[in-house]
Symmetry: C2
Subunit: 327 residues, 2 copies
């Protein structure tokens, strides 16, 4: 068989796996209370790219012995990481006072912050309950570490809101914790459940962490420059909420005099159009995108850890989409 | 030795155990980020009665073979249940827009709802991380079930806010899920970690569930009739947030005509003083307290499952305090 034919087989396996992930997700989230069930069905509409389950399954297939394969444990773990991600979306929308997500109304917009807070809690709780079903204490412990890091990233970000002195290193550490640690863990867990060696597992974590950082930088870029209809969610929230992101930080690193004052004024006035125009014309947006592309390129160099070439090929094309996407 | 002397020994053991629980709690919650650490120290001020760890350790001691004893696993599990409880307090205060807790300012009051939401998440996450350290998949699974029930209870309660048709059975089911399932699980887990039989473990759950229901009824009574300074937290929140509690439900069950209209008017006007006066004079408050006392009495009959008499004696006096308390 050719690599292309093999790749098609893996793509079909992946699609089948993601369907199983969806079923596991829905089965976990069904409640006997109609009021709770309705909320769960609403939250499921948030399910979008399924990036995290995809990376977990692919990482499992790319490191499995014999033919590319994943197990039921991979499926449960993949549904768990997606549920953790969804919980963060529900709470993020409360924090950002966002009204739109995946082209629909957010839970907080429709049902109020209180319901959104508890629905997010319910999703976190169900995620831990679901992953406990795998019966692997190491998996529970690892996911606990991951969600601890995730919350720490959010708490540090909150503590640095409206802080114009936020530097690149701190921004990247916030991004690493709030987004990349989970994406890294997806790749790591996929490999580990396939019985990969510690060195391969750790390389997989590193690939995922890099993709996660690049993904978040692109997310922040879309919040600044994207079109709400295309992105499908409320944009301009970072500026509104006082969160400095990479293009702004790069601009403040470089600019001085009137150019710097103009950027600071746009931030203080929460003038999204001006800020966008300034950061586009100064090249700061392009620099931030280049920064993300560089990280993706570094992740790509580590793909040799996935010994299945057909899986590597899919991972490779997926890596591009992390940065080259409009939503 | 006399029963009194033996009881003193158990009381000292318990005090020692609770100190170990506090240390495990603090060790789990320390963060390398000062911003996060400060928040954790603030949340620790919420630690009050330590009811849940106390019940877990006592249940462990009451069902252990040989002399009353608990293990390091009991200590970790006890710190975990207290952390889960603290997470719910932090999020409850957001939901109730409460400004005071244990005589001090709430996190949401001091630092805003956003920080309180994520701090609550961080506490939940750390609770799961901590309990994963026990390395017992059954414990993780059980606590996942418990927190699922807890969130469902809150979600059902939210969906029934301002619903004057809320009946006693639904109220009790909300209370069971949002409070009593966790308290029941404390007793169950304590016994299970001591190697108790399934029938003893299940009896311990039943004792805890009953005490939990009575405890919540008393909490709701304090919100209606208590003194803010004595209770140490914001009161009158149930009426403000449209939550019907037992005395109101009992009153609406019984009253008709003008008496009923007066109660409904006080609720609609959110007139706490009038509602309190009406429910006190009609005997509805006393009936609700009797209802709670009856449940405590039923729990007391099951204490024979704790075969250590000195532990049973402590449990017995603790049962009284569930209802007879002013804070």
């Amino acid at each position: 068989m050719t690599l292309a034919a093999d790749t098609n087989i893996v793509t079909e396996q992946l699609a089948d796996g993601l369907e199983r992930v969806e079923r596991a997700f829905e089965a976990q989230l069904s409640s006997t209370f109609p009021a709770v069930d309705t909320l769960c069905r609403h939250a499921e509409r948030y399910r979008g790219k399924m990036l995290r389950p995809t990376l977990l399954l692919l990482s499992g297939m790319g490191t499995s012995t014999g033919v590319p394969a994943f197990t039921e444990k991979h499926v449960i773990a993949a549904a768990t990481v997606e549920m953790i991600h969804m919980a963060t979306l529900v709470h993020d929308d409360v924090l950002d006072e966002a009204s739109m997500r995946r082209g629909g109304a957010t839970v907080n917009f429709l049902r109020g912050n209180e319901t959104a807070v508890i629905l997010g809690d319910y999703l976190i709780s169900n995620a831990f309950h679901l992953c406990s079903r795998v019966g692997d204490p190491a998996l529970n412990l690892r996911l606990g570490e991951v969600t601890n890091a995730l919350c720490e990233g959010e708490l540090v970000q909150l503590s640095r809101r409206h802080d114009l002195a936020l530097d690149r290193a701190t921004y990247l550490e916030i991004v690493r914790r709030k987004t990349a640690v989970l994406v890294g863990a997806c790749c790591e867990i996929g490999a580990k459940l396939s019985g990969a060696s510690p060195s391969v597992t750790s390389a997989c974590y590193s690939i995922g962490e890099k993709l996660g950082i690049a993904f978040q930088i692109q997310d922040d870029l879309l919040d600044l420059t994207g079109n709400e209809e295309t992105v499908g969610k409320s944009i301009g929230r970072d500026l509104e909420k006082g969160k400095l992101t990479l293009p702004t930080i790069l601009s403040l690193e470089r600019e001085s005099g009137a150019a710097r004052v103009a950027v600071l004024r746009a931030i203080e006035a929460r003038d999204g159009d001006s800020l966008k125009a300034l950061l586009l014309s100064s090249g700061a947006v392009e620099s931030a995108r280049d920064f993300a592309r560089d990280i993706v390129q570094k992740a790509r160099l580590e793909l040799t850890s996935l010994h299945q070439p057909q899986v590597r090929a899919i991972f490779d094309s997926l890596a591009d989409q992390v940065v080259d996407r409009a939503r």
